[in-house]
């Protein structure tokens, strides 16, 4: 199952990158306090997914992570400035979260095929929570967009 273990590694890495990016955006836009607090909350969701995955990753082995390098998206090391910056950062987070979600979808399919109930459970839960992250990002972008696009200094 070399490719499944590859995807397990990818899930772990992309959740890690998403968590770091949530934290960077939260900190960078700390003046928007709801962004600060919610980003931290959502980063903790990513951390939890990684913890839940850890024992399974050990089972599958995580050695082969060469190939999916091409699939990795770069995280956001630093937030942009201002209201437009916030809008773009939220969009970037949305892209990263989408990669995470499709990764879990792929893993869930593999877990079905292997009848690995434990992995299926982790992939399903994580997928649902990634949906919640995407929903919040969408909601927050809709709120921020008009003012940022039209009036912001």
């Amino acid at each position: 199952m070399p490719h499944l273990s590859t995807y397990v590694g990818l899930a772990d890495r992309s959740e890690q990158i998403l968590a770091e990016s949530f934290r960077a955006v939260g900190l960078g836009h700390a003046r928007a306090v709801d962004v600060f607090h919610t980003c931290n909350l959502l980063a903790e969701m990513c951390d939890r997914h990684r913890r839940q995955l850890a024992p399974i990753a050990e089972r599958y082995g995580e050695d082969d992570i060469e190939e999916p390098e091409r699939l990795h998206a770069d995280g956001l090391a630093q937030a942009r400035d201002g209201e437009i910056g916030l809008l773009r950062d939220l969009q970037d987070l949305h892209v990263l979260a989408t990669l995470v979600q499709t990764t879990w979808t792929v893993i869930a399919q593999g877990a079905q095929g292997l009848r690995d109930a434990e992995l299926l459970d982790v992939a399903t839960t994580a997928n649902e929570e990634t949906s919640r992250q995407l929903t919040w990002l969408n909601t927050r972008m809709k709120v921020a967009a008009p003012q940022a696009l039209i009036v912001a200094p």
Binding site: V33, H37, E83, R132, T135, N138, V143, P146, V151, A152
Partner: protein, 831 residues
């Protein structure tokens, strides 16, 4: 003659379960005026808390000189509380009323005429509209205007300008109540009624210090707990309030969760219902969706886990849940202890969940009262000056938006509906950067009432945003404005307002406003005229001139919605007073209680919102909502507990929480100008537990510095009944002082310490979850100025030297031998 400062609730009239609450008529006239001297009594309702007590205003020589409760009013059966009695009228003839407009010239506010003041407003408004468009405009209102004023402003904002930036201080007091209704039932609207008090066998008060916040409602409860077949009381509050004492007296229980942990407690209570088979499975099956997810969400919250998180003994949680699970008719009330605390909406929704799980909603005794903080807050929610669309319409539903566009004869694109309305804290953030460059504040005092005061003052005083303030007095906020408009107040204008349990009252003009002061309605109409707002037919957008015409326009806006005013008119409201909506052909005399048929306004095409993720605030889409096929069923929604945003640390080891005293309202604009009330609570204080006070070497009356990462106050300490580890500060005191005598006027503002943080769904700021440290600065020279009554009473007995409050003015109180008939009251019988 009764002193209602020290006898807060007045003479009891205990009565058995299921019988009508007796009537007692309370009256107060200013010193030197006898009842025979009163020339006219003018119909109104009290504006000094959210209870909505019907009253008549006494007029003599063109002045308001007192008030009397209306015996036949469905809300109060004649009673009034200390604030209503003593505080309703003295402010009106106060010598420091604003009587002429002011404009800022060379940094100073100077008197001017209306033409100049309105000319300045319109010039800035038009300039910004041309340069940046309507998103440059923001409006921040109140919970104390009349519905005609809110509706008129809503039409100006949504159809005239087209700005989503409208909110009120209702965001600080009642937003979570509305949000919890919308999430659970699909639309705003109080399910229960005050008449539930007469029929219940248990009352749960969640974060609700009712003896101080709604004294007349508490008197109604006391008349049950002191009568035959009393209900048991359960109190959830970190302070040992009188509710807690009554809980212990009635065989109920007091749960004191650590500040910020309400949701964990609620999840524990919910789990107990599932564990012990107290869920009414058939009812839930038919009338609610989401029960499986909720059961999973609360599964980890065992009583022991709740004890670990909240500090509430597991056995106490079990007992409280048992009372809920085994009572046949539970009434729940919820207020700021939940609304202004961490995970506000999720915790308040959890109260709705308990009732849904037990199938206890929609019949006498089984009520939820998600309370309001202010007398007209409900109307701000209904009419849409808080940003919502009028008539509980859904901004995300194009049909609802089109209904308003048709009613107002404007292009639907004008009406801002592309995103949720901008909430108060976000409006302030936009004003901070100048993204909003025109901010109009009516009848509220954010410089004192908003969190993190230093920041708010800077925003209002700055050059980046033009600020208009209309008020009765030169408040701490008005002092910072660019233009100040003198407003007419209660009794000086006519209009309607609606209380917590949907009861509509008409408040008639009793006297003329002073000098050049104008009603808020007239001010908004003057702005609309000057801006020349028109509809697509080229006619003026606002087609009304009087409050009655405005009411009739509003009535049309409610047609076909859950909030139906179509059967109401000024004439009808002049009859037996206090009529709860919906009032229509089906319910010509109003409706005592919603959802009697177990059908909720949750359908996708009917609901006010598609709902949210309670943890993040992420919005549910129309497609997702439709897929759930609510079909008139209520939603059971849950969320996991997360720790509060600021936990005590080594530097700030205590939990800081703010709240009210029974004698003051808001920032004391009215109550501080009433001698009896002012003397009873003349200056700020903080309450510490005896344990913490002893540890810090603090005695009653000592001066202490209370500090958070954001700011500090220096006031005197009351060693009181707050739980160990918590510090309570009353939020009423800014630097304004009626006598300029307060020694701490410049450093007593409780919101200097609070955080800028809000609930993800209701966007209500959290005033009750900051960390702080307390240090003694010097010895006091006597007890603190805190009242010695209610929850501020000193901890007995070591500090009992604190004297009772000075007596209030004389009032009279007469229990009527024959209780009037109350048309909708299930226990009222015609005699």
């Amino acid at each position: 003659m009764v002193d209602r400062i020290n006898d807060i609730w007045g003479e009891g009239t205990p009565h058995p379960r299921g019988t009508v609450w007796p009537a007692r008529v309370d009256l107060h006239l200013e010193e030197g005026v006898a009842e025979a001297d009163v020339e006219r009594w003018v119909q109104s309702a009290c504006l000094l808390c959210s209870n909505g007590c019907g009253c008549d205003i006494a007029v003599k020589d063109g002045r308001m000189v007192g008030v009397r409760g209306r015996a036949g009013d469905t809300v109060n059966h004649g009673r009034l509380g200390p604030k209503g009695l003593y505080g309703s009228t003295p402010w009106a003839s106060s010598s420091d009323r604003l009587t002429r407009p002011l404009v800022r010239r060379d940094g100073q506010l100077v008197e001017t005429d209306w033409e100049t003041a309105m000319g300045r407003i319109v010039e800035v408004s038009k300039g910004l509209l041309a340069e940046k468009g309507p998103l440059s405009h923001g409006f921040y209102t109140s919970g104390q205007l009349f519905l005609e004023e809110y509706y008129t402003l809503a039409v100006i904002g949504k159809a005239g300008l087209g700005t989503p930036h409208m909110d009120g201080n209702t965001r600080l007091c009642t937003a979570t109540s509305a949000a919890a209704f919308k999430e659970s039932f699909g639309a705003d609207g109080q399910p229960g009624s005050y008449t539930d008090i007469e029929h219940c066998d248990a009352i749960f008060l969640f974060g609700h210090n009712m003896p101080e916040t709604q004294t007349v409602l508490w008197a109604r409860i006391l008349d049950r707990t002191r009568g035959e077949d009393p209900p048991r009381i359960v109190c959830v509050d970190p302070r040992h309030t009188l509710v807690a004492a009554e809980a212990e007296r009635t065989g109920g229980i007091h749960l004191a969760p650590r500040v910020g942990t309400n949701l964990a407690l609620m999840n524990g209570l919910t789990r107990e219902l599932f564990t012990h088979g107290w869920v009414h499975t058939e009812w839930v099956e038919e009338h609610a969706i989401g029960v499986d997810d909720l059961r999973d969400t609360v599964a980890p919250y065992t009583p022991e886990e709740v004890e670990r998180i909240c500090g509430v003994p597991a056995a106490d949680l079990r007992q409280a849940a048992r009372i809920f699970g085994e009572s046949e008719a539970v009434l729940s009330t919820v207020l700021q202890g939940f609304y202004q605390s961490h995970q506000a909406t999720a915790a308040s929704v959890a109260v709705n969940n308990l009732h849904l799980l037990r199938g206890q909603i929609g019949r006498p005794g089984c009520g939820v009262l998600q309370m309001n903080g202010q007398p007209t807050a409900q109307n701000n929610r209904e009419c849409g000056a808080d940003g919502d669309l009028p008539g509980f319409r859904n901004w995300d539903n194009p049909t609802h938006v089109q209904q308003l566009a048709d009613l107002w004869k404007v292009d639907a694109m004008t009406i801002p509906h592309w995103a949720p309305p901008t909430h108060a804290m976000q409006i302030m953030s936009y004003a901070e950067t100048g993204s909003i460059g025109f901010l109009w504040i009516s009848a509220t005092n954010p410089a004192v009432s908003m969190p993190e005061s230093a920041r708010i003052r800077k925003i209002l005083a700055g050059e980046q945003c033009f600020v208009v303030v209309q008020d009765l007095f030169l408040t701490e906020t008005a002092e910072l404005a660019d233009v100040v408009l003198p407003a007419a107040g209660w009794g000086e204008k006519t209009g309607c307002f609606t209380n917590v349990n949907r009861t509509v009252h008409l408040s008639e003009q009793a006297v003329e406003p002073p000098d050049e002061a104008r009603s808020d309605l007239d001010i908004f109409l003057a702005y609309a005229d000057a801006m020349k707002f028109t509809n697509i037919e080229g006619d003026p957008l606002i087609g009304w001139r009087t409050s009655e015409e405005a009411f009739d326009a509003w009535r049309e806006a409610t047609r076909g919605r859950p909030i139906d005013y179509t059967g109401l008119s000024y004439d009808k409201l002049r009859g037996p007073s206090g009529i709860p909506w919906p009032v229509n052909d089906e319910h010509p005399d109003g409706t005592d209680r919603l959802y009697a048929d177990g059908r909720f306004p949750s359908d996708t095409d009917e609901c006010e919102t598609y709902g949210h993720d309670l943890l993040t605030g992420g919005a549910v889409t129309e497609t997702e909502h439709r897929a759930m096929a609510p079909a008139g069923r209520a939603f059971l929604k849950g969320a996991a507990y997360t720790p509060p945003h600021e936990e005590p640390s080594e530097d700030y080891p205590l939990r800081y929480t703010t709240g009210r005293t029974v004698y003051q309202f808001h920032t004391r604009t009215k109550t501080g100008r009433a001698r009896s009330l002012d003397q009873a609570a003349p200056d700020a204080w903080v309450e510490l537990s005896p344990t913490d006070a002893a540890g810090l070497g603090i005695s009653e009356g000592d001066w202490v510095r209370v500090e958070s990462p954001r700011g500090a106050i220096e006031v005197r300490a009351r060693v009181g009944t707050v739980m160990a580890g918590a510090v309570f500060a009353p939020f009423h005191y800014g630097h304004w002082d009626p006598h300029d005598l307060a020694p701490d006027a410049e450093h007593r503002l409780a919101n200097e310490l609070t955080m800028t943080v809000w609930d993800p769904v209701s966007k209500q700021p959290y005033f009750k979850t900051a960390a702080c440290r307390v240090t003694k600065t010097r010895d006091g020279d006597g007890p603190s100025p805190a009242p010695t009554t209610a929850a501020s009473a000193p901890a007995a007995p070591q500090t009992a030297e604190a004297p009772a409050s000075p007596p209030g003015g004389a009032t009279s109180s007469e229990v009527l031998a024959d209780t009037p008939h109350y048309a909708l009251d299930p226990s009222s019988r015609r005699t």
